[in-house]
Symmetry: D2
């Protein structure tokens, strides 16, 4: 079992190897690197109980995209990132034609690094009502609904409760849930997106873990789209010291960082950029007939 906590399976696998030593081999886990649209993609499959225990994550597939060019605002980086995300997401979705998908943005609008979920929902092309009302015009679109689930403190409901209520009513074939994550490494923040078919625990990013959203709790597949926007302050302290060769400490040993988060200075802008890329990526995956240019005209 891992001593250190991370929301990213790719990080967990790496940490496990560090702790176990390179000679030991991690059973029940398969990891491979590839490239998509010029971005690095790491796919980690947790195949059985043993692998799940080792990495502290449920069995399933975890895909990590590293969107460095996006952060550097390289030309063409945005459409490439959206297409890469769409392709990897499509690989995790198993959807009958015309089946309804519910996209939920998790997190608290009032906390900048936690806003990525709700902001993503604003970039989703919502079609359920159009497909139902004028199939003659919109029959070629997949029906999609979107929801920013809010947070307990502002609704009095777990986002899981609200989503379960909506799922019961709309009966979608699948939920795509977007949320902020906490990263182990400052280098991941703002440039990594993790997709998985194992569902998600809302609020883990800013440290308010809630009931899980997954096939067990909702009765349908839940594809998670997680993006690290914060690093735990105590974790950061230990990493900085380790990097500087100042020794190896445990975050748990540092109590003084309660209620503090570490973010990039330009987290406000990064959250906007990431929400747009994720929103467009989901749109492209759910409406394969569309291009990035089409989406520019359909949402704003």
């Amino acid at each position: 079992m891992l001593k250190r906590r991370t929301d990213l399976a790719a990080e967990a696998a790496q940490l496990w190897q560090e702790e176990a030593g390179t000679t030991t081999r991690l059973e029940g886990v398969r990891a491979r690197d590839s490239a998509r649209e010029g971005f690095r993609v790491t796919t980690v499959q947790i195949l059985n109980e043993e692998g799940a225990r080792a990495l502290g994550k449920p069995e399933g597939t975890y895909v990590t995209l590293e969107l460095d060019g996006l952060l550097r605002r390289e030309e063409g980086a945005f459409p490439r990132a959206a297409r890469a995300l769409a392709t990897e997401l499509s690989g995790l979705l198993e959807l009958p034609d015309g089946a309804l998908v519910l996209v939920v943005g998790l997190g608290n609008r009032a906390i900048t690094p936690d806003r990525v979920g709700p902001r993503t929902a604003e970039h989703i092309i919502v079609t359920r009502h159009l497909v139902e009302r004028s199939p003659e015009h919109f029959g070629s679109f997949r029906p999609v609904s979107a929801l920013a689930a809010g947070v307990l403190g502002t609704t009095g409901m777990e986002s899981g409760e609200l989503i379960a209520a909506v799922v019961e009513r709309l009966r979608p074939a699948c939920v795509v849930a977007v949320d902020a994550l906490a990263s182990r490494s400052v280098k991941r923040v703002g440039r990594t997106i993790q997709l998985s078919d194992t569902g998600i625990v809302p609020g883990s990013g800013v440290g308010n873990a809630r009931k899980a959203l997954n096939r067990g709790t909702l009765g349908i597949p839940v594809i998670a789209v997680g993006v690290p926007t914060v690093v735990d302050a105590a974790t950061l302290a230990c990493d900085l010291l380790a990097e500087a060769g100042k020794g190896d400490f445990e975050p748990e040993a540092l109590g003084g960082a309660q209620g503090l988060i570490v973010t990039p200075r330009d987290v406000d802008a990064q959250v906007e950029d990431l929400a747009k890329v994720i929103g467009y990526g989901i749109d492209l995956a759910l409406q394969p007939g569309l291009t990035v240019e089409d989406i520019d005209l359909l949402v704003s």
Copy 2:
């Protein structure tokens, strides 16, 4: 039946009298004026089918507050207005002790005059989760949940569908629904609030009427809090001409105003002020133990 449309029962009664002439008496409708905390209050009761047909509104009680001092930002106007709203609202609510109330903010965040509902939801003291989890501390509070229901174009769901789903799940004793209205008279805009026990049709304010929210559709009482933030442009044209003695025209005769709305120049600020007054008024009605100062500390 009225020739001209208005969301305000007090206006409807007045228009009916104008059209019918002062000699005729409106059967099945009782109207009375009073004062609350220094503000004018008009209460219209529609008692039967005949009255409902005459005013084009369902049977029930409609209370109109005129908050002139608020708009002029008179000293003390805000707490007086919040208390007046709370008292009138309490008169319409029949709630067992400790029964859950769901407050819903209707309307589109992206359209300024339609934002009053969602912004109100942000001023609601949400307690359901606290009362459930630590009754020892919060047992004296009524459990309250709040929801900004969004709009069809951004969720793919009627707000009525979303609210019905949540009602089914949370089983509240009552829904309080806040929405923008269209006023017949420019003088009402930004300074009038209508309460009624008859429910509400979302979106009537900016002209996208949806399925009604009422006891018939939700199975529980729905108290509507409506606030005029817009005037229909064609209606305005006719009123201006009538006022100026330039004759009497029908709004329907003027086609050129599609998609236009008439608002006060400072509608952005008015919507913020109204949302705060309504939010505080609802808080005071639902949590009678609190004062305006308490709410200042609990919400922001």
Copy 3:
């Protein structure tokens, strides 16, 4: 002299003709239509005192673009509109190479239809500090500064005072001033942009006219970029009645509309779209080496 007021020279010329009758010819004014990037362009030149008196506008050149496709969100409409604006703007600018330009966004952030100026400033590629500090990298850029001038009520300064102070300090070769306008016709709102080399009177859009910004007051050329986002309510009333054949009334005769404005229902979104087009158009005019795609990467 015109009986009716409009900020748009193209409208003024039209109104003059209506009032004078088709047989009379307007001396001292030359008007011509053309097309740019698929959009209709009307150029009105006021050549002398007589023309200025007739149209109630100073001598100079007024270019009106009609961006209908933009509003309908046609594919490619945005880059075409930005390029059309850039070309027409370049025709009015007479700038030595490397001369500093100051772009000012006029208007009140707190009033939606008045926000177009300040929002435009956020889309301007600001280069003055870069060109000064590392000419080796940015020598190919024109130095540009930008400023959202705020309004009297929030600064205690006329925007003209603030701009004059900055002009005195930075000594730019030219000011490009962006502001909201009032339109005579509801059809103009949100789809028309007027460029002129005669300067601008801040705040005319929402009815708080201030000291003029022009060569006389600032000592350098002032290119005005005006966009109608509101219609005066009384004006609207008269137009609606005229259209409906209900007779011809004077807006001045209608007193009841004080403090009211008429806007498109989606003015919030329209203001965002217009600010982006104008910002990109100015960027393209001032930095001819750049493309729309380049600007996407440089501003956000």
Copy 4:
């Protein structure tokens, strides 16, 4: 000379003592604690060259308020904090009756912890134009102007350049400049306000130090109001380890934290609260005739 950097004189004095050891006495610096409206106030006077060198700060008076109750949202904490700030600020201001004051909010609106300056400017009662235009009504008010100076990247001007240009034009008797600071200690963040009569270096909070604003650069007194909203990540790491007894490291030794900031999780809300307290405090100091309730009605 101090090894460690802090913007707060009270922290600097404390650090100096730690480094020098309790036996040594710091010459040229006088520090005293007091209480104001129930909040702790520390006043540090740097009396000469020696003191300035020791603490790495210019000669002058530095007043630190610790607003703990505010953060805990205690009843009455807000008006008490505003009054405490007003009283301490008045002690630093030497203003002839009726002399104009310019309040400037420094910092970048697009970066949450840096937004405290611009947001404060929105709470300032601006009176210059009123006093000038209708002295008969507003003669009892001090003329005040306010300005959010923006940042180099969005204007192409140093905020110092813009402020100097405005000072040259308006000829105020004094500038009050509000900016975010970096704190040495996480405990200071969001609950401390430092006032000083020595001026300010814009942008030190988020690490983009600019030209100083002080009597030397502007020719008039500059009262600085600084509020720590961030902690340097490397500094935090060292502090956490020191607290945990893990040894003593230098922030400079930790390179890995570039571009990262540490903030409270609810920094968005804290910045809003602090901006309001500071704005109200400045209003009370500049308009002694007003109460907190008056300001509620005058600004929003």
